[in-house]
């Protein structure tokens, strides 16, 4: 097979880790993935320093860490107005080329479905249906124009089922009662079936050299149901067993789609199954970071901000977290739950509220030291396991847009941005959170079955895709192709690396469409994912 004839399918399972998949691989729930594993190679895939979907998928797409690609969260921080603010990320915020861009530039056809940071859609040589777009805007969000109509007419997609039920998600962020979990899971089964229709329709009608899709139901389900998936069935109530069964039905559907994709791709395509991060049970304590900051004199709440008594990490409704604080008397605040980060209020001029530039580094170091000594008042245990300063967590030319301090909590989970009754509170419902170890599975004619892979990172995926496609890897790509899992003939170096200076050339020349958003409704959409406040 000539490298130029090679094709790749990138099958994304958002939030999947081997601890979730392994039992279902063993018991026959996921026979197609099990067969792929038997005939392929696998390794844990290390996520970004803070494992979160937008930065991690962006790293998978670009082969670069967040400090280079510029995506750190669901939102983009903006310090230009004198107080920290945020707006929704868009494709314009991606500062480097994606594998889709690169393959397109080399004349290869691509299909990219349900990836974050893809709205407005780049003008690729192929098809794009971005992720995180509401159903009623999908008609304007797809590339090429007209694709949406085609998908409705020929693939019989139902946009309302394809997109997320945001009202339900808004509720679900705080956890759902057991009697609502089955519906939650079924909703995501329906969504994946819709994405499957799109995927298979495009694979059959307009086959691409690089076909990529993200199934994001895995993460949404694990957030609310991981405790049921990892439990022994005999330890569950009948109602919980029903939910667990529904969850496994979800994975059965995802696996069935994988089987259809393999059939549609044919024997000469290589398959990569990857996730942006894994999952783990959240700890039983929630950290109210802004309450801690207030107790340390670094943050002042507006008088009318109510105390949360429900162990929530985010507000219901549309209020932005930036409106909770008296910024004239606030030096630092956690703005989004998703980032597990604290943002410093940077004074734009001497004498104005905030931390002056000359004090910034010392301020951050002092805050880090204080956080590392913080103790849970109820248990006496440390609250924060690790604090990474901006340039430690996200080194690179785009670091200025990164949060200033990123926390790794001892009790795993996302912090709360709300005004808590104390700095810590008990979690009221079991919850799944992110883990840095996702999955990498490769299978196909270019893959040497059974070989042991070196530890892989999300930045290695793009290089692997490009290598399998026989395309040069741009010089700035940080990752390396997983050649140790490839057959000798495929391991051979590809064409010379391009010496393109494409890093940051995207700044200022975004694709047509969104360049800034993040108003209340859009924020509530992110909030409904369980991350943002």
């Amino acid at each position: 097979m000539s490298p130029t004839e090679s094709r790749v399918v990138l099958f994304g399972l958002d939030g999947a880790g081997f601890p979730i998949l392994d039992p279902m691989l063993r018991d026959g729930t996921m026979p197609n993935l099990a067969a792929v594993l038997d005939a392929g190679v696998a390794a844990p895939l290390r996520s970004t320093e803070h494992p979160l979907s937008p930065p991690a998928w962006a790293s998978i797409m670009t082969g670069r860490p967040p400090g280079e690609h510029g995506i750190f969260d669901f939102v983009r921080l903006d310090h230009s107005g004198g107080t920290p603010a945020y707006t929704l990320i868009s494709s314009a915020d991606l500062r480097v080329s994606t594998v889709f861009d690169i393959a397109s530039r080399h004349g290869r056809r691509v299909t990219a479905l349900n990836f974050p940071c893809m709205f407005p859609p780049p003008a690729l040589n192929g098809s794009v249906v971005p992720g995180y777009v509401p159903w009623s805007y999908l008609g304007r969000a797809c590339h090429p124009r007209g694709l949406f109509r085609t998908l409705k007419e020929q693939a019989r997609i139902e946009p309302r089922k394809l997109a997320v039920d945001w009202e339900l998600e808004r509720t679900a962020i705080q956890g759902l009662p057991a009697d609502q979990l089955s519906r939650w899971v079924r909703l995501h089964v329906e969504r994946e079936e819709q994405w499957g229709r799109i995927l298979l329709h495009l694979m059959r009608s307009e086959p691409s050299d690089l076909t990529a899709v993200v199934l994001d139901g895995v993460d949404r389900i694990q957030h609310l149901c991981l405790h049921l998936l990892v439990a022994e069935p005999e330890d569950l109530t009948p109602e919980e067993r029903d939910v667990r069964s529904a969850c496994r039905d979800y994975f059965r559907v995802a696996d069935g789609l994988l089987g259809e994709v393999l059939a549609a791709a044919g024997p000469d395509a290589d398959l990569l199954v990857v996730s942006d991060h894994g999952a783990q049970l959240a700890g039983d304590r929630i950290f109210y970071a802004n309450t801690w900051l207030a107790q340390h004199g670094l943050l002042t709440w507006h008088d009318d901000v109510a105390v949360d008594d429900a162990s929530r990490v985010a507000m219901n409704g549309n209020t932005e977290s930036t409106q909770l604080f008296d910024w004239d008397h606030t030096s630092a605040a956690a703005l989004t739950s998703s980032s597990n980060a604290i943002v410093v209020h940077r004074a734009t001029h001497r004498g104005l509220p905030g931390v002056p530039p000359e004090e910034y580094e010392a301020f951050c170091r002092r805050l880090r030291d204080d956080l590392l000594t913080a103790r849970d008042p109820a248990t006496g245990e440390r609250i924060v396991a690790r604090v990474l300063l901006r340039d430690e967590a996200f080194p690179g030319p785009a670091a200025d847009g990164a949060p200033d301090l990123t926390l790794e909590l001892r009790s795993p989970g996302f912090l709360s941005v709300l005004r808590g009754p104390d700095v810590m509170a008990a979690r009221v419902r079991p919850y799944g959170t992110h883990h840095r170890d996702g999955v990498f599975i490769a299978y196909g004619p270019g893959i040497a079955p059974g070989t042991v892979l070196r530890p892989l990172s999300v930045v290695d995926v793009a290089a692997t895709v490009l290598h399998l496609l026989g395309l040069p890897i741009p010089a700035g790509v940080a990752g390396e192709p997983a050649v140790d899992g490839m057959r000798p003939a495929v391991r051979a170096p590809r064409p010379d690396e391009e010496q393109r200076a494409d890093v940051f050339t995207a700044v200022g020349v975004p694709p047509k469409g969104l360049d800034a958003a993040g108003e209340a409704e859009i924020v509530s959409r992110l909030r409904s994912l369980g991350y943002l406040e």
């Binding site: 903006d78 868009s90 509401p134 009623s136 304007r140 469409g513 958003a517 859009i522």
Partner: protein
């Protein structure tokens, strides 16, 4: 053809809304129609704002205007009012207004 070429904000906004509502049994979209009555998810109006900002090179200015000057429930605007508000932002001096560079 850009919105500027086609004669202003209203035709551009109407074209978008016509496209988005073609399956929603609302008939054609006119300037008197309330944005809230078009059958769109309210979140889609944020995408509309973003697309209009991008088209006219407004950075975040339209968003900021609707947020603060004065705070406005976009859903309560008619299509025509939304277009007028946009034109006001276009006409207003941009100096000192934070936002990304126009593309």
């Amino acid at each position: 053809m850009t919105a500027k070429d086609s004669g202003g904000v209203l035709p551009f906004v109407t074209e978008i809304l016509d496209e988005l509502t073609e399956d929603l049994d609302v008939g054609g979209v006119g300037p008197e129609d309330l944005l809230a009555d078009l059958g769109l998810e309210s979140i889609s109006l944020v995408y509309l704002i973003a697309e209009v900002q991008q088209e006219f090179g407004l950075g975040d200015r339209l968003l900021d205007s609707l947020r603060w000057h004065p705070p406005t429930d976009v859903r309560a605007l008619t299509v025509g009012q939304f277009a007028e508000r946009t034109e006001q932002v276009i006409a207003a001096p941009a100096a000192g207004v934070p936002g990304r560079a126009a593309s």
